[in-house]
């Protein structure tokens, strides 16, 4: 377990290498995650602190191995499940249905 008195995300002052300067433009699925996060808050289902809480609880391994918006969509889901917006059964069923539509992000849009 991580050090509970100095959690992984609380990284101010940690040793680290040069700042990587490369960037990317956001893909449409990333923009959609961003929009769903904002709109879900406006609907009153969760707060930005709830999103951060879920991200922090995902742990350092998630920070190292997942992209920013992969972690955000996981946190969004966690918060929507906690708010009772949909159930895991509904999510799982829907994800299987989507996967059956095709192999690429563009191909499976309804």
């Amino acid at each position: 377990m991580e050090n509970p008195e100095h959690r992984w995300h609380d990284m101010g002052g940690d040793a680290a290498g040069p700042v990587p300067m490369d960037g990317h433009d956001f893909a449409i699925w990333e923009k959609r995650v961003d929009a769903l996060v904002i709109l879900g808050q406006q609907r009153g289902h969760f707060t930005v602190d709830g999103l951060r809480r879920a991200l922090e609880d995902m742990g350092e391994q998630a920070f190292e191995s997942m992209t920013y918006y992969e972690r955000w969509v996981a946190s969004l889901n966690q918060n929507l499940i906690e708010a009772g917006v949909y159930s895991l059964e509904e999510l799982g069923t829907k994800m299987e249905e989507i996967k059956a539509r095709g192999d690429t992000y563009g191909a499976v849009q309804s």
Binding site: H6, F46, T47, G50
Partner: protein, 92 residues
């Protein structure tokens, strides 16, 4: 708590496990209130969707040389937002 710009404050050293917004590197450090930002809902409650009473939020200024003994420029400063319940009222 009635703090005003210029008040000297020390940050608590507690480390409750959960969603908190006081960075580890400032805990136990002493700074000066730069401005009073007013009441904001406590994020430590908001994070769990439980009732979140407001807390006064302050901007507190710390000297780099106080936070980091080996600071390149000790007179440089670090400002952070600190909620009132993280300010140690028993400290001088």
């Amino acid at each position: 708590m009635t703090l005003t710009p210029g008040s000297t404050v020390r940050i608590k050293t507690m480390s409750p496990l959960g969603h908190i917004r006081t960075p580890h590197y400032l805990r136990g450090k002493t700074g000066v209130v730069e401005r009073v930002l007013g009441p904001f809902k406590n994020p430590e409650q908001l994070a769990y969707m439980v009732p979140a009473p407001t807390r006064t939020l302050y901007r507190v200024r710390f000297e780099m040389g106080h936070i980091w003994p080996n600071a390149e420029a000790p007179q440089d400063t670090l400002d952070a937002e600190i909620y009132e319940h993280w300010i140690d009222q028993n400290a001088p």
